[in-house]
Structure formats: structure tokens, C-alpha cells
Amino acid sequence: MYQYTRFNNQNNILRKVGNLDYVLLSCILILGFISLATMYSTDGGEVLFHTRSHFIKFIIFFLMMITISFINIKFWFSLGYFSYAIILGMLIWTINFGITASGSKRWIDLYFLNIQPSELMKIFIILCLAKYFHRMKTQHVNSFYAVCLSLIIIFVPMSLVIIQPDLGTSLLIAISGIVVLWFAGLNHKYFFYSCLLSIISLPIIISFLKPYQKLRVLTFLNPDRDPLGAGYQIIQSKIAVGSGGITGKGFLKGTQSYLEFLPEKHTDFIFTLYSEEFGFIGSVILLLIYALIIYRVIRIGALSRSYFAKLFCYSFGTSIFIYIVINMSMVLGLLPIVGSPLPIMSYGGSSMLATMIGFGIVMSAKTHSDQSIA
């Protein structure tokens, strides 16, 4: 036994390196490269602030992801509640001392970088809930107490983000949480009834929306209502994507973005620019890369021994999928515009940090796949 452990320790790092999921790793690298190229294009074919910043962040966070993946999954399991509490604290801090930009308080100033805790919450809520359900017996999952507590875990950060105000991120946090609940085995009827309830209460919710949010919903329903105002983003985005055609306009030749017709091309609308320049084929390739990433994440979950790792991987993979779907649907005019970045592609440190932490934990689950958590 001792021998085994020693042998284990000696070859620990090597074994872990060998155990890394290289398909996932290379997919992330390719995605990172694509996102850098796209960022370069948004800067008009020059290495300007966005490209440089995105590059540095990607490198740092990628290395961080590798580091995380060498840390035992047990550590992340133990960190579940604590990290959640920390982020919650940061959210409360944001409300009081956050930096205000374009009408909402989303960032806190950490001197060397500004961080958006709501983005981190998207990952850590999964971690927290996965830990919560890890030990729970099947019959307890649907107990009133468990459901209530998990809903509170979801609701508190969600409401803290809503009052920033940031409807998009708060919805994504809620979705991440609900995904965990689904995998944890919460009864189908809860989902069914809450769906029903939300549809019924939709008009009431709409009446509580802020005027600009109402406008977004109306604009989504009919973008031509105000083509130069609220509908501008959707219309220009559709024009950009549609004009890309099968093969696209070519790298650095996307006229819609280059000529500044596209709004927020660095962040939420980055896919529009990509799609304009690389066309249908490029877009499908990007989707396939994402699909492969998600597949690998879920596969890691399936191969993991511990329930916590499985739950985390499944939930994380699904959340990433939902983020992608929401972002693309919004850009393609299938959903109203809510602020939701495209993982890794979009410019934004916090979002990238959260995604990379997520991948790091997944990778850690891979390197420690035979680790069982008591």
C-alpha cells in the first residue's frame, strides 16, 4: 500500500499530464485562436487594445486552467460552498461599491483588473449545487427542504444580479442552477409546473420590466418597428450574417463590422462578425468545435467515478451549450437581445475567467477520474 502510494506520488504529475484530455485542450486552443483572429478583425486588421488584451487574458487563463486541472477534484469539492459564499460577498460588494458603466453596476475594481462577479457566479453556482446534491440520497432530492434550499441558492445571486441591473446574466445564473437541479434528479413535474407558471406569469413579468427591456422584447417581435433605434442591432446583425453567404466575405473583409454598422462587435455580437467573414461553412465549423468541446466535457463526466464530478461536468457542459445557444439565437434574431457573451469568443475577462475555471475543474475531473469522493 505504501509502495503504491509512493509510486503514485512519484509519477503523479506525469500521470496527470498524460491523463489530460488533449482533444478538449486543443479544441479550446483552436477556439482561442479563432477568437483572437476575430478580435484582430474587429480592431480593423491591427493589433490594438482588444486583441492584445484578449490575447493576454487567454494565455493567462489557459495556463490557469491547466494549473487547476492538476489540483485534485477533491479540493474543488471542498471549496464548493466557500467559493459560492465568496462570490456572493463580491456581488454584495458590487452593489455597494461597484463600478458603474453604461447604467449598471457590474464590476468591482481589484486594482489590477476589474472583475464581474456575476460571470463567476455562473460557474460557482454549479460547483455549489453539485456539492449540495453530491451527498444527498435520492429520496431526499425531491424533499421540500432540499428544493427550497437549492432554490434559495439560485435565487439569492440571481436577485443580486438583477438589481445591478443585468437581466441577461441573472437569467444565465438561474439557468445554470436549474440545469444542476435537473441532473440531480428533481422531479419532472417541478419543471413542468414552473414552466407553466412562468408562461402564465409572463405578462406580469413584462409589466415589471424596465422600459428598455420591454422595448427589446417588442423589437424582437418586430425588428422593423424602429430600424434606426431599438431594432438597429438585430437588423444590422442579420444583414451581416446573411451577407456572409456560404463562404463568407473573407478574413478582415466583413464590411458590416469594419464599417462600424455592427454594435458591440467585440462582445455579444462577435459571432456576427465571425459569421460575416467566414460564412456558413465557418459558422458550422465553429459550432462543431463547440459541439466537440461539450461532447468532451460530458464524456469526461461520464467517465468520472464520483457523482460530484459527473454532476459538475454534465451541468457545466449543458450550461455552456445554453450560453452558446442563447447568444447565437439572439444574434440571429431568434431571441430578444439579452446581454450574454459567447464563451471564449467574446471579449471580456470575467466571462473568460469563469469559463476557464469551469474547464479547469472539468479537466481536473479527468485527471482524477478514478478519484472517488466520500
Binding site: 441532473f183 446573411g242 456572409g244 458590416q256 469594419y258 464599417l259 456558413f280 459558422s283 457523482y307 439565437s329
Partner: protein, 624 residues
């Protein structure tokens, strides 16, 4: 073991749910791909068009206007390079400094300066502000010398209209000026080609040939960004210059006409009697059309507008004058044609003591002493009014008007070349009944016989009439634009019943100029090469009262507005006629003393230049 079995159930549930979601994910992914397919493949064309509409904008440049040439190919309305000064405000670091510096250098007045500032506020910062549109070379070079100090100022050479002969062709060509709203609304062509600063014809041939002259715009296609700023030029499509239009006018004769009419109000028209080509057509006083090209100053405009000699009126076409005695050839011809008289018909002119009396009205001859017994030839030669009173009385106004109209009086000569051309008026009994609602009076017939009363003609009509008498009574179609030979079917069709009658009139006109006691005898040229035949006319502007007759004032003693118009029509050379002319000098006095001497000058030059003209383009001449 309970724990273990629980774990198994949990994992089973987890995997089952994963499977459900995976299926859902594939479906959703399929949905997104199909949406992409719909946008990028199916609707690609639509969005591509929309994207191009977004990014491509066209800028039209002013077209280059066609030129006008005279018969010999001299440019009479051309284009020149105008020196302009442009500023793009956003490219200037310190606009205030630069604009004040420019003001200093160009010595702009405060008024001009404020106008520029006002213009600057109306345009977008990246649009071109034209500070000066026509600088002289001195100022232009001054600006160029100071360019180091004028960051963002661009000296530009642009194309603009130029009339090298200044006032000589004003009434023929008209002038160009900035297109206004009315021009754009009324002319489709201008609307289509309009760009700010476009200059269009305002009057004359410049206006009526707008469609041919205007040319087509050069187009610059630019890629613009979301804010409308030009990013790069995609294409440059060169426009065509407008057509060059060649006129039949001889600049030398036109210039002579201008000289002869200097400081007079009046008109000279010269026509080729076979081709109908206008050799010269001038209305005096004229003005320099160049001053309209860049907008005329208020003072200059007032000066032109308030001039009592009316420089703005094209007297050759829109001047309605009583023809006076110049109508007499037509009266005589009509009487001969209708066989009311024969050439030997004689009337006794008894002078002022014994005037013709009809229904209590008296009709005087111009000559106090009377002409005695006159026949047709003598009547024409001395322009005896009494003779033509009698002829007109016998002829009647209806037959007279018929002949007059046949010879081109009372209707527009150039159908729609000139929008200011007047019809003139050849009265008859039905006209008076219809228009004035009154019956024709015999007295009116009598004064019509000497070209007074209702009858009104324009100088160009008189010129046409003379031409058609001179060419032996054949119909011609006057034309001012060379090479547009609309072959009219009835060209050269006879206007007479007996050609002998035309000959008689021609001879009578010859005697009037070349025989002793002829009204224009003093203006004759004896050299048969230049010898011409003519008829004077003195049109009364005001009815002569008994008191006037007693005073018998000299022309210069009468107020300007009440003086008679002096007219003269002629053709030459008499032996083989080629050219006809009409001269009118407003308030000039007697036709014989004021108008006829001009004909002498004109014929000398016209006939001298005939050989040159003939050799220039022999095809155009019929050898009759």
C-alpha cells in the same frame, strides 16, 4: 450497501437525464444550423444587397457642359478652369484661425465672410466647404504661397462656363447659373443630374438645348461607414461631356452688329435667304453673361434690371414693333397678287394741306409737301403713305393679312428654340371680332397699310419676310443651329401666284435704296458686288397730333420714349441676292437716317465674308 444501491439509482437517473438533454441539444443545434442556412444561403442575396446598400454610396460630380461654336468653329460658349478654394472643416485643426487667415488673404468683406460661416454650419464636418468658387490667378497663387500656414485648405481647379465674346451672344445663347428649385422641378434632365453647384441654362439656347448640353455625371462610388464617412473609393465612372452645338452665326458679323448698336436699343438680324441660316442676331443693349455664372451681385443686377433700354429683353425675338413702312412691300405684293392694282396704278399725293379724308378722319403722308402723282415703284421708293392708304383701302385687311402671314409675319420663327419669342400680330376682321369683340373699321385697314395700328412684328419676322421676298418668293425655314437640317417638305415652295410680282417688289425696293429720292439713297453702295435693296420704316410710338404736326420737331427735341422707332429691311447683293437683314433701333427716329446706314456697314462685311463662308462648308450651299 444501501448507500451503494442508492448511488446506482442516482447515477442511472443522471445518465438518463443526460441522454434526454443530449437529444434536445442536437435538435437545438440543428435549429441553429438551419437558421444559419436560412440567413446565409437562402436569403443571402437579400442581405448582400442590404449590406451593399449600407456600405456603398455614390457621389455624382457635376457634368461637363457641351460647348457652343459659331459657324467657323470658334468657341462662343466654352468651359474654363475656375480656381476654387475648398475646405473640409473636420480636416482643419484650428478652423477659426484658418478661416480668418483666408479672409485676410482673399480680402473678403464681412458679408461674404458671414455667408461662408453660415454655409459651414449647414454642412456636415466632412463635407466640402467651398470658400471661393472663382478666384483670379493672383489670389489663387497668393493662397498657394501661403498653404504652409493654411492647414486643410485645398486649392482646386474646377470646370466652369465661359463666354469669351461676353455680351455679343447673350441674347442668342442666354447664360448659365446655379440650378434652383424651379429648374429641378420643371426639367427631368436636371433633376436626374443634379448635384449641388450644378449650373444650368437659364435663358436662350443654353436653356432650350439643356438636354443635349448637360452631359452626364461622373460618378464616384465610395465605401462609407455607419456614420456616412467615406472610407475608400471603389469606382470612378467618367461621365460624358455634353454635346457641342454648332450655330450658323458668324461671330465677326455678330460683333459688328453689336458695335453698330452700341449705346442704342434695338436689334439686328441677318439671314441667309436660301438656307434660312441666321448669320447674326443681336439685341442691344446686351450684358455680360459671365457675371451670372457665379451669381450676379445685387448692384450689378439692379443696374441691368433698371436700365431703361431693357437689356434683359431679347428684342430680336420678343420685341413686338409696328413694322411701319417696312410692311409696304407686303402690302404692294398682296395688292398685285390679288390683282387689286397693277404696277402702273397711280395715286395723287397732295401733302399735308390736302390729306386723305375718310369718315371725318384725316390720313397724312409723312411728307409735308406731298409726292404728287406716284405709281407703285415711286410709292415704294419714296415710301408715300397716301399711295399705300389707297392700296390698302382697295385691298382690304383680310387679303393683306393672308399674304403677310404667308411670308412669315405674325407667327413664331423658331418654334420652340427660344421660350421668349413672341408671335407678333397680323390683324384681320375675324381677329378683331373674336378678340376685341368689335367690328373692323375701314380706317384701321388704311393705317395697317403703312404698318401702324394693331399690326405688330418682331425683327426676326421682318428678316424672314425680306428673305422670302429676296429669294424670289420661296418658303424657307430659318435655323440657328447648323447641321440640324430638318428637311421640311414645303421648303422652297412658292409663296406667290406670279413670280413677276415678286420681281416688281424687288425692283421697287432697289429703287428705294439706289435711286435718287429713294428713302435710303444716302446709304447705298454703288459697287454691284455689295449693292443692296431695302425698305425703310419709321414706326410711330405715339399718335401724331395736329399740334405735333405744326411744331414739326427734330428727333432729338422729342422725349426719348416718344421718339419713333427706326426700321430698315434689306437684301443683297441685288444682282444675285444671298442675304437679308432687318434692323430696328428703338426710338431712333427716322429709318432712312438712323437704321439704313447700319445696313451699309453690315453688307460690306457680310458680302466680304460670303466667300469664306461658302468655302468653309460648300455642302451647305445650294447653287441657285
Amino acid at each position: 450497501m444501501i448507500n451503494l444501491s442508492d448511488n446506482v439509482t442516482k447515477l442511472n437517473s443522471l445518465n438518463r437525464r443526460m441522454f434526454i438533454l443530449a437529444t434536445a441539444k442536437i435538435i437545438i443545434l440543428g435549429g441553429i444550423v438551419s437558421r444559419l442556412f436560412f440567413l446565409q444561403v437562402k436569403e443571402n442575396k437579400k442581405y448582400l444587397t442590404l449590406s451593399d446598400k449600407n456600405r456603398i454610396r455614390e457621389w455624382k460630380l457635376p457634368p461637363i457642359r457641351g460647348e457652343f461654336k459659331d459657324y467657323f468653329g470658334n468657341t462662343i460658349a466654352g468651359n474654363f478652369e475656375a480656381y476654387q478654394l475648398h475646405i473640409i472643416p473636420e480636416q482643419v485643426e484650428d478652423f477659426r484661425y484658418v478661416i480668418f487667415r483666408v479672409k485676410e488673404l482673399l480680402e473678403l468683406t464681412d458679408k461674404q465672410f458671414n455667408k461662408i460661416l453660415k454655409k459651414k454650419n449647414e454642412i456636415k464636418p466632412w463635407e466640402t466647404l467651398i470658400v471661393a468658387d472663382n478666384l483670379n490667378w493672383e489670389k489663387f497663387s497668393k493662397i498657394n504661397n501661403h498653404l504652409y500656414d493654411l492647414n486643410g485648405v485645398k486649392p482646386v481647379i474646377s470646370i466652369s462656363r465661359d463666354y469669351p465674346y461676353k455680351e455679343n451672344f447673350t441674347h442668342v445663347l442666354g447664360y448659365v447659373s446655379q440650378a434652383n428649385e424651379n429648374d429641378i422641378l420643371t426639367n427631368e434632365n436636371i433633376k436626374e443630374k443634379f448635384v449641388p453647384g450644378l449650373k444650368v441654362g437659364k435663358t436662350g439656347l443654353e436653356k432650350s438645348f439643356e438636354k443635349k448640353l448637360i452631359g452626364s455625371n461622373s460618378v464616384e462610388r465610395y465605401e462609407v461607414n455607419a456614420y456616412g464617412r467615406r472610407i475608400s473609393q471603389l469606382a470612378y465612372q467618367k461621365g460624358d461631356k455634353g454635346q457641342t452645338i454648332k450655330l450658323t452665326i458668324d461671330t465677326k458679323i455678330q460683333e459688328l452688329a453689336n458695335q453698330l448698336l452700341e449705346e442704342k436699343a434695338g436689334s439686328i438680324c441677318v439671314m441667309d435667304i436660301y438656307t434660312g441660316a441666321i448669320i447674326a442676331m443681336h439685341s442691344s443693349p446686351s450684358f455680360d453673361p459671365n457675371s451670372f455664372v457665379f451669381g450676379i451681385s445685387q448692384d450689378e443686377w439692379q443696374l441691368i434690371r433698371n436700365n431703361p433700354m431693357k437689356p434683359l429683353v431679347n428684342k430680336s425675338l420678343s420685341g413686338n414693333y409696328s413694322p411701319g413702312s417696312t410692311i409696304k412691300p407686303i402690302v404692294a405684293l398682296s395688292a398685285l397678287e390679288n390683282e387689286v392694282i397693277n404696277p402702273d396704278f397711280t395715286v395723287h399725293c397732295k401733302g399735308h394741306k390736302n390729306p386723305l379724308e375718310l369718315y371725318g378722319q384725316t390720313y397724312h403722308c409723312w411728307k409735308k409737301e406731298g409726292h404728287g402723282f406716284v405709281n407703285l415703284r415711286e410709292g415704294m421708293k419714296q415710301s408715300c403713305d397716301t399711295y399705300f392708304y389707297e392700296v390698302a383701302r382697295r385691298l382690304g385687311v383680310d387679303r393683306l393679312s393672308e399674304t403677310a402671314k404667308k411670308f412669315g409675319l405674325g407667327k413664331k420663327v423658331f418654334k420652340d428654340y427660344f421660350d421668349n419669342e413672341k408671335n407678333g400680330l397680323i390683324p384681320n376682321t375675324t381677329w378683331k371680332k373674336n378678340v376685341l369683340g368689335k367690328n373692323w373699321l375701314l380706317g384701321e385697314t388704311i393705317i395697317t397699310g403703312i404698318g401702324q395700328g394693331f399690326i405688330q412684328t418682331t425683327p426676326i419676322q421682318l428678316c424672314l419676310m425680306t428673305s422670302q421676298i429676296a429669294n424670289g418668293g420661296h418658303k424657307i425655314y430659318p435655323n440657328i443651329v447648323a447641321n440640324i437640317d430638318k428637311q421640311q417638305e414645303d421648303k422652297f415652295s412658292p409663296l406667290y401666284k406670279k413670280s413677276k410680282n415678286i420681281k416688281i417688289i424687288q425692283e421697287a425696293m432697289f429703287s428705294s435704296t439706289n435711286e435718287v429720292r429713294g428713302t435710303s439713297y444716302r446709304s447705298r453702295i454703288d459697287d454691284p458686288k455689295y449693292q443692296f435693296a431695302g425698305k425703310t420704316g419709321t414706326a410711330q410710338v405715339k399718335k401724331i397730333t395736329e399740334k405735333d404736326r405744326e411744331l414739326d420737331l427734330k428727333t432729338f427735341e422729342i422725349p426719348y420714349e416718344e421718339r419713333d422707332h427706326a426700321l430698315y429691311i434689306a437684301f443683297g447683293p441685288y444682282k444675285s441676292p444671298r442675304y437679308a437683314l432687318s434692323i430696328i433701333i428703338e426710338h431712333g427716329g427716322s429709318g432712312g437716317t438712323v437704321a439704313a446706314p447700319l445696313a451699309k456697314e453690315l453688307f460690306k462685311m457680310i458680302i466680304d465674308r460670303h466667300e469664306i463662308r461658302k468655302n468653309h462648308d460648300t455642302k451647305k450651299y445650294l447653287n441657285i
